[in-house]
Every structure is written in structure tokens, then in C-alpha cells.
């Protein structure tokens, strides 16, 4: 008797085999599956990238100045988190990806908040053209896209004890190679009095020139206080704290004689290393303009009534 061929239990017919093309492309399939799950798990992480278009409404009140060429203002950046060389920063920022970002508003607030960037943008983006006067005696004119700082602070509703607003930048030694140097007390910190922060001119910028901020200009959001020296306009903010005491600020801690807490632009008060009476027009060789008190924003003068500006520089 001939033994009948009977397939073993694990036998599968050819028709049941995985299609050859699928088999050869299995890696692509796995990758797609992986991507699908990550984007499912983290739906809120799709955020705007530096340079993306940013729609904002022109604020006609702040449109008198002719902006400096974008090429200049985005390639000349005091951002010590990357480098102390202003011309190096842009290159160091190329290829850097920002982590998911939230901003915490905390301290002496009746309603402490942690907000996504889109939630702050939803307060209403507008474009304002401001002159930025660097303490190094040069200035540039930038069209910023953002929201008035007062709107955000009002959301948190400061208590009656709140007198100052402290700002802190992201601390991340991997992202910011400059933070590996021990000379500076990282993270970058700045501060304003509450009335200064609530002033109409104080601005939180998400973009410039109608686009999301380039990283070298302080992405994803930065402060712009146009009547103060540029270093007060802290970049890449992660936390805003309402306090009852004057907060410590990075430059004031490093060189208290050179960088005061107020740091209002004032042609009459020298920097210990140079006169502040004039400023170089960025992009030019020797062309300078006389520096104006409060950088040409006299409407802030009432904030300092009765304050000795020479002592409180």
C-alpha cells in the first residue's frame, strides 16, 4: 500500500503566502505603521516651524519706521545660548529643531496658566514696526508679529501683591551649546516692573517680517520692549512669573555696573566702555543716528516719574 501524502499540520499553500512585493517592502510598511501611531498618540505636537508664514493684522499705530533688510536682522544676533559671535548664530541655528513648547505664567497670579503657543496667538496677532537699540550702540528696525504682553498677563490676573514680572528662557544644553559655558548664570533671565509689562508697547513676538521667528531671533516667542536696550527683550521664553520683588537678571548679575535692571535707552548715560549718545545704523559702515531718550518712545516717560534715571540705569 502506498503511503498517501498528507501535508503536515504547519503546511500552508502558496496562495496563503505574503505577496512578494509586500514582503520586499516590509520596512516601509513598518515605518508607516510607526509614524501612524506616533502621530495618533501626540496629536497636539504639530507646531509651526521657524520661517512659516504667520498672518497678522497690521497695527497702523506702529508703522512709521522703514524696516531694516530682513537679511541683516536675521544674520546678526546676540544670542549667547548659541555663540558670543553675532555673525555665527544663524549658522549654528540651521538644522536645529525646537522641542514642543508651552509657556507657563505663574507666581502671584489668581489664575496661573500653562499655554500652548497657539492659545497665546489666539489672543490676536498684530504687526508692529519697532526700532531695536542694542546696548552695543547699533540699532535696527524690525516688523514684529505678535500679541501685546498685557493681554497675556491679564489672562493670568495678577494679585495685588504682584509688582514685577520675571521672564526665563529655555535651559537646554543640548539645544543651546553656549549654555555649556559656566561664565553665565543660565538660563537667561530678564524682568520688568508690572507697569512696564502692562504698557501698551510691551510686546510678545512670535514672528517677524510676517513669518514665524527664525531660531536665531528668539523662536518660538520672545519679548520686545522697544524703549529698553535689546538685551531686555529676552528670547525663547518658557516661563513668566509674577513676583513682589525685583527679579535677578542675567546681564545684571554678570556686570552690574554695565547693565542695570531698567536698561532704558538713554543717550545721557554712558556704557562704561563707550558713549551711548549715538548708534550705528545696522548695515552701514559709519552712518550713525543720535540715540533718543527711551529710544524715541516718549510715551513711556510717565512710568518713570520721580525716578532718578541716572541711578536707576
Amino acid at each position: 500500500m502506498m503511503k498517501q501524502f498528507s501535508p503536515p499540520s504547519w503546511f500552508l499553500p502558496d496562495s496563503a503566502a505574503t505577496d512578494e512585493s509586500l514582503y520586499f517592502n516590509r520596512r516601509a510598511l513598518l515605518k508607516a505603521a510607526g509614524l501612524a501611531t506616533t502621530s495618533l498618540a501626540l496629536p497636539s505636537l504639530s507646531f509651526a516651524q521657524p520661517g512659516d508664514p504667520l498672518a497678522s493684522k497690521t497695527n497702523p499705530k506702529f508703522q512709521q519706521l522703514e524696516p531694516t533688510a530682513e537679511k541683516l536682522t536675521t544674520s546678526y544676533n546676540n544670542f549667547y545660548e548659541f555663540s558670543t559671535q553675532k555673525q555665527e548664530v544663524k549658522e549654528l541655528c540651521a538644522g536645529v529643531t525646537l522641542p514642543p513648547w508651552q509657556v507657563e505664567i505663574t507666581g502671584l497670579a489668581q489664575k496661573p496658566l500653562t499655554l500652548d503657543l497657539d492659545q497665546i496667538k489666539a489672543l490676536g496677532l498684530e504687526q508692529r514696526v519697532y526700532r531695536l537699540r542694542c546696548v552695543e550702540a547699533w540699532s535696527m528696525i524690525v516688523p514684529w508679529d505678535g500679541v501685546p504682553l498685557a493681554k497675556l498677563i491679564q489672562l493670568a490676573n495678577p494679585t495685588s501683591k504682584a509688582k514685577y514680572v520675571a521672564f526665563v528662557s529655555l535651559e537646554d544644553k543640548k539645544l543651546f551649546p553656549g549654555q555649556r559655558t559656566s561664565y553665565y548664570p543660565w538660563p537667561y533671565a530678564e524682568g520688568l516692573t508690572l507697569p512696564e509689562a502692562m504698557h501698551e508697547l510691551s510686546f510678545l513676538a512670535f514672528g517677524c517680517y510676517g513669518k514665524e521667528l527664525p531660531i536665531q531671533n528668539g523662536a518660538p516667542l520672545r519679548l520686545v520692549v522697544p524703549w529698553k536696550y535689546g538685551f531686555k527683550s529676552i528670547k525663547s521664553i518658557v516661563r513668566i512669573t509674577l513676583t513682589d520683588h525685583q527679579p535677578a537678571t542675567l546681564w545684571n548679575q554678570i556686570q552690574p555696573k554695565e547693565y542695570g535692571f531698567y536698561a532704558n535707552v538713554n543717550p545721557a548715560i554712558d556704557h562704561p566702555r563707550w558713549s551711548q549718545s549715538s548708534e550705528r545704523v545696522l548695515g552701514s559702515w559709519f552712518q550713525r543716528r543720535p540715540t533718543e531718550l527711551f529710544n524715541g518712545y516718549p510715551e513711556v516717560a510717565p512710568l518713570y516719574r520721580g525716578l532718578d534715571l541716572k541711578h536707576n540705569f
Binding site: 546678526y76 558670543t84 555673525q87 559655558t181 554712558d270 562704561p272 550705528r280 559709519f286 550713525r288
Partner: protein, 210 residues
Amino acid sequence: MKAKAYPYLFILPFFAILAQTALGDLGANPVETISHFTGNWAVFVLLYTLALGPLRYLLPPSKLLSWLARTRRAPGLWAFFYAQLHLLIWLLDQILGGQELAKNLSKPFILWGLAADFILLILALTSLKALQRKLPWKKIHRFVWFALPLIGFHWSLKEEGDPQKALLWLGPLLLLYGLRRLKLKQNPLRRAPPARNPYPNSGRDDKNSA
């Protein structure tokens, strides 16, 4: 071209910045770019020039090293050249920009730099061959070591008071200088490999040539 002419290579950075200027490639603040560039090169060339002396004592005798050290007048003058460009662009910026020159001149930051430059100026003037024969130029030229701390202060102030960069560059040189002094103290008989003195009446005194 003779080997003797090698210091002419130190003109290359000058050509580089000239080319950058011609191409309009100096960035948003051309004056600052030139100022930093020339300041850096003044220091680099000066450090090279000054390192030759101690290295000649500390390293095993070598003809090349001793020749480089003997002919370091030319690189020294190139350091002076870049220092003058550094000063010139600052002065031009003050004058053409209508700045408060007198006020800015009185700032310690500027004074440290000017003092260092003054030392370099004296050294450059006394390195004229005609003067070398009349003056104790070797003794005068030891003043160059005073320029180093002045440069260090000037540079550190520029770096917002952070001395790290200045120390990184100037520190090793001061270390070399100290090592040489130490070595001479321990073994005063050890001298540099015999070198032909190019300026026989120049005040070069072997008893004090530390």
C-alpha cells in the same frame, strides 16, 4: 623666493579681509567685523612671535627653530601692522561717525588697548636696523611681555568681563615664558643653541639674555 621671505605670508589675512570687503561680505556690521578680525590677527601673530623665544630654550636644539627665533623681527612687525589696522578702524569709526572721541578715549576698555598698542609702537620704532645698533634693543623689547596682560584686560572686557578666551590664548604663552625662566634658573649654563648674532653691536648681552 627665499625662505627668509616667509613672514610675507602674514599679509594673507589682510588680503582675505580686503577681498571680503570688495565682495561686500562683511555682514551687517562691517566696522565691527574688521575690528574683530584685525584685533584677532594682531594677537595671533604676536603670540607666534613671542612663543619662538621660549620654545627655542625648551625644545631640543633645532636649526629651524633657532633661525625662526632669530628672524622674528618681521613677524613682530606684522603683529604691529594688524594692531595699527585695529586702531585705525576704531579711529575712523569715531571720526567719520561723529562720535565723542575724547570721551570714548577715556574708557578703561580703550585705554588698555591703547597702552598695549603704545608698547608695540615703541618696539616697532626701535626695531629699525639703524636704531638697533645704537640702542639696547633686546632689553627694550622685553617690554613686549607687559603688553600681554594689557591685551588680556582689553580682550576680557570686550568679552563682557569673561577672561576665558584671553586666558586660552595668552595663558599658554605665559606658561612657556615661566617655564623658560625656571629652566634658566635651574641650569644657568644651558643656553640657546649657538646662534650667529646678526647685530654685533646691538646691546645683546649674553650675561643677561634670559
